[in-house]
Symmetry: C2
DNA sequence: GTCTATAGAACGATAGAC
DNA sequence: GTCTATCGTTCTATAGAC
């Protein structure tokens, strides 16, 4: 449901009530519970509807980039572009597309287990395919470094997509608005350069505590 | 209140009820409304308590980096480190610190105006100081490019901080846990390299629609 | 300043007529 | 499959005793 997509993106999952969706979509409250089992299932249906499409486009672009570069491996920039461009283009297509990428990015910051698990199922294979390509294109870097940098790049992309107005925190209104094509290129250049950085000073003085210890609630 | 910090970080603002906080903190429901005016004011109080400290450390580090490099401008890497390291170190300090940076990162993805406005007031000056330093260190790059890249770097940092377990989406469990010191260096290297990238292929085929809310005035 | 008690509204979910 | 009606719960916020 388009109304659910918009409201979830705008107010978050918990901040959105089924009743609000019902009012916006001018449908019946009980019909939601009939077609989807619950509020959470509705969210997953909204997400699944588009994620499948975006990831298919991503994989197609990656395959094309790899075929074009064969027998050498595709360049980091092309791999990154194959991941990022479909998302920005999807956001560009129409209002609904823009809304969806906001929602998707926002869901990556949620900590609820059921959602994290859902994202893992939906994105695991695609991301795995891309990390494989990046590891192949950056054989001189440790696996750990490439994986973290991939994560950073996704974070940079999500920050841009999930809350459009937040750039004002940095620009303070001094920035003319940037076209999507420019933005894609900015992102790709940034991410590709970051991924290719020389890993010169490996500190390797390990401390005990880490940020990555998982805390599963319930 | 520490309990509020934890619950807001874990479940988001809308997902957390004052009653949940009251139960966790073993205090009285009415006392919350007496000391803070509302749920939103409680959130802002929780955020303000720490943001001030982190931003002070950031500015101190930036000034030190600039003084060390004088009369030349500080290196991009040092500027970036002055921004990122205090946050990761804060997260490392104790459980409460780790919880807070998760909360702060998460709030950056919220779209509610009152919160966006609040973040602008709390972070505007600090971020402005850093973008100024970066513009000085990267005089050959267009202002627009530097500002966007700064935004990307902040996004990369937030992605890491806000939901610790999400790296598994990329690593699929194949990654041993990384120490915070390593993680800081990974982030700094990634962000510095991204910020310094050659802006070779400026696309400049402008399309009409943009992802950012403001319209181009032309 | 801290409590109990409760107002007043909104929530997710379901039952059952049609 | 779509409706009305409602259950049982939870929510923020406040009033008023101590």
């Amino acid at each position: 449901m388009d109304a659910a997509e918009w409201l979830f993106a705008d107010q978050g999952f918990e901040g959105t009530s089924i009743r609000g969706i019902v009012d916006a979509a001018k449908v019946n409250l009980a019909a939601i519970h009939y077609h989807f089992r619950s509020k959470e299932a509705l969210l997953e249906a909204v997400l699944t509807r588009r994620i499948t499409i975006i990831n298919e486009v991503r994989l197609k672009r990656l395959e094309f980039a790899e075929a074009s570069a064969a027998p050498r491996s595709a360049s980091v920039e092309e791999i990154v572009r194959a991941f990022i461009a479909p998302t920005v283009e999807f956001a560009q297509r129409d209002k609904s597309g823009a809304t969806f990428v906001q929602l998707m990015s926002r869901m990556f910051t949620e900590r609820r287990f059921s959602l994290t698990d859902f994202l893992g199922r939906k994105f695991g294979d695609t991301i795995g395919r891309f990390t494989g390509a990046l590891l192949g294109a950056l054989p001189h870097l440790p696996r750990e470094v490439v994986l973290w940098r991939t994560f950073f790049a996704i974070g940079a992309m999500h920050q841009v997509l999930c809350s459009p107005g937040k750039i004002d925190l940095v620009s303070r209104g001094l920035l003319e608005s940037t076209s999507n094509d420019e933005l894609t290129e900015y992102l790709v250049q940034f991410a590709a350069a970051g991924l290719c950085a020389n890993s010169s000073s490996k500190p390797s003085k390990k401390k005990s505590k880490t940020l990555t210890s998982r805390r599963r609630n319930e």
